[in-house]
């Protein structure tokens, strides 16, 4: 009678509590929790993949009285990605923070963040989503400030405040929906929702609040400083997972809750902002002086790509086209999750061993840190979208469908973004490879490099080739 949905949330929570109580054991208990949670997440994904979607009613009251959890293909795909990345980050953190004082601060907050991530992906209740958003925002801001520098504290305070503004706005949308429909379960509200002032206001408030949290251009101002100043494993989690959770919610609400309310012009507006994000984020990444800042701006751009899909999804007729677009979107989100996490972990190692992360002075990093450089290269392949990365397939579908649906301008944006991404990735690699002697040893710090390398390899090689199973997963349990 074990319920993988509840376990995916309860296990990391339990781990966080134990680590809080027994700080001396935080590394061991934290790793055990990470392994167990990832195991449950994969079990959950396989269950969804092999057949029916999962749903459970907590408390046994059923909707509308109780709160439900559910996993369809979309949720399961993101849970699998998030938990694999989180496991790699955990392994990295055992080395990065070591047994130092900072390790005691990291683990409980990190496991609470993990709880919030799984809770968000699996939630089926509008108010429960609010609680999860706050748990995510508070723990992420606290984690981001763990470097202890003034810049980190300043950037993460801004992140915290912006996040609170976003979640309050979201909550007013939920209050309006409750006023009109008297239920909080996502599916029940979706069934009852009809076009009108309530639906439009709720759409604007909820999506608007979440856009702030997903850092869509021009609301991205808080992201680069917060992500670039956090400790490397935390940067990886923030960029790869936390922002993605907000984007996932936008998508979930857009497709499930506001289906039929969200009009094409609204989607066009979001697509336009996405285009702005792709161009501006890539441009700033190209001009960035520091490796972690480059990665953070590249996240702004990659978030933009995800929003380019919205006008296409809204315009596409139900059925095949829509499914292909959704698969491509998920492929892009997963690839970016793996790639950016790997990139940040490798950048953290570069910073730790050279004492800085200024791109101009990276000279010879390939010689001293071959595995980290290789990781950045592989992640770069995925960020640019070279075959066989998932990004390549995703952009292929994006460009093809944009032309087929008569919205060719998105194709231009995607291509321009790809060129800019190639430029900023090669700029780093060119700096890293500019010295002669060959490296003595491929790995320098296995606990950082192996997880980073695996993540990058997953992003560049495996996710793209797994497009077919991912499509099956997304089709399952709808």
């Amino acid at each position: 009678m074990l319920d993988p949905l509840a376990l995916a949330v309860a296990l990391p929570l339990l781990g966080a509590l134990l680590v809080t109580m027994l700080p001396g054991w935080s590394r061991t208990l934290g790793m055990l929790t990470a392994l167990a949670t990832t195991g449950v997440a994969l079990w959950l994904t396989v269950t969804v993949w092999s057949g029916e979607g999962l749903r459970s009613d907590l408390g046994g009251w059923g909707v509308p009285l109780g709160i439900g959890l559910r996993a369809d293909g979309l949720a399961a795909a993101l849970v699998a990605m998030a938990n694999l990345v989180a496991l790699a980050i955990s392994i990295n953190a055992t080395g990065y923070f070591g047994a130092a004082e900072s390790s005691r601060k990291f683990w409980p907050l990190w496991l609470l963040l993990w709880t919030a991530l799984n809770g968000l992906f699996l939630a089926a209740d509008l108010f429960n989503l609010y609680v999860m958003l706050e748990l995510l925002g508070l723990s992420a801001a606290a984690l981001g400030a763990l470097t202890g520098t003034r810049e980190a504290a300043e950037a993460n305070l801004r992140y915290l405040l912006v996040g609170l503004l976003g979640s309050m706005t979201y909550l007013l949308g939920v209050a309006l929906l409750y006023t009109a429909y008297g239920v909080l379960d996502l599916e029940l509200v979706a069934e009852a929702l009809t076009p009108g002032p309530v639906a439009w206001s709720a759409l604007a408030l909820m999506i608007g609040g979440l856009l702030l949290k997903s850092a869509l251009f021009p609301l991205h101002f808080w992201l680069p400083p917060a992500h670039a100043n956090a400790p490397a494993p935390v940067s990886a989690a923030l960029s790869a997972l936390v922002v993605k959770a907000a984007v996932y919610l936008v998508l979930r609400l857009w497709l499930d809750l506001f289906d039929g309310i969200a009009t094409l012009p609204a989607a066009m507006l979001l697509g336009l902002l996405g285009a702005g994000a792709v161009l501006w984020g890539s441009w700033r990444a190209l001009r960035a002086e520091r490796l972690k800042l480059l990665a953070a701006y590249s996240t702004v751009a990659q978030i933009g790509y995800l929003f380019l899909f919205l006008p296409l999804l809204t315009a596409a007729p139900d059925g095949d086209t829509r499914e292909r677009l959704l698969t491509a979107l998920v492929l892009l989100a997963l690839t970016h999750g793996f790639a950016k996490a790997g990139f940040f972990l490798a950048a953290g190692l570069v910073q730790k061993s050279t004492g800085h992360d200024r791109i101009r002075e990276l000279g010879g990093a390939a010689q001293s840190l071959p595995a980290a450089t290789f990781t950045i290269g592989l992640a770069g392949v995925a960020l640019i979208g070279l075959p066989p990365s998932g990004t390549f397939f995703a952009k292929w579908v994006l460009v093809g469908q944009a032309i087929a649906l008569g919205q060719w301008w998105w194709a231009l944006v995607a291509m321009a973004g790809t060129l800019l991404a190639a430029a900023y990735v090669f700029r780093v690699l060119a700096r890293a490879f500019n010295r002669e002697p060959t490296p003595k040893c491929f790995l320098t710090d296995p606990r950082t490099e192996i997880p980073a390398l695996l993540l990058a390899a997953l992003s560049a090689l495996a996710v793209g080739l797994a497009a077919q199973p991912i499509a099956v997963l997304l089709g399952a349990g709808v």
Binding site: L13, A16, E134, L135, A202
Partner: protein
Amino acid sequence: MSSSNPQALLIPLLLAAIGALLFWAFWSGLTGHEGERLAALALERVPESGASNPVTSVLLNFRAYDTLLELAVLLAALLGIWSLGPAAAPYQRASLLLDSLVGWVVPMLIIAGGYLLWIGGQAPGGAFQAGALLGAAGVTLALSGRPNAGLPGEAWLRVLAALGTLVFALIGLTLMGVGLGFLTYPPALAKALILTIETGATLSIGATLAAAFLGGRPRAKRNAEP
């Protein structure tokens, strides 16, 4: 633009427009006559929940999962506060007269908290209000110059802060283990379970709020190793 900053005018105008839309939406939502479904159902099933105060029924039974995570949010805030540095300098020790007043107020707050916790099942009150009173007792102690606000050293404080959520989560998981489902209370035990959870939550909320008021890691020199 008479104003030196055009934004200063633009933002209120924009917000007024949004406000008009929101008022319209709120009005049409209220008059839409669909808002009764969950309310009637919740009130109808209160007797099965193990608490006769409807708000407690919703908070600790129907929507217990929300409450569990809300306690996690409180814990995350405290851990974040601790990670940002040591506590602020303690307040000056209160004068003798004030000090003896504190000696009266704190036990009263604690007793009132216990009362609210107990009565919460039937009447207004419950874990959060009771915990807030315990927290207020801690704040009073801190304001009168006790550097630890009456809280134990770091090792025990950590246990105290996580206790409520731990009891809650373990009860939920145990119920799942015996086949009832996560946080699904058997009706016969509901009342006892709710009271157990509320007691743990009250202690944790009180300790967390008082510790949050101190605003940093406890300064006590006691060893933090478990």
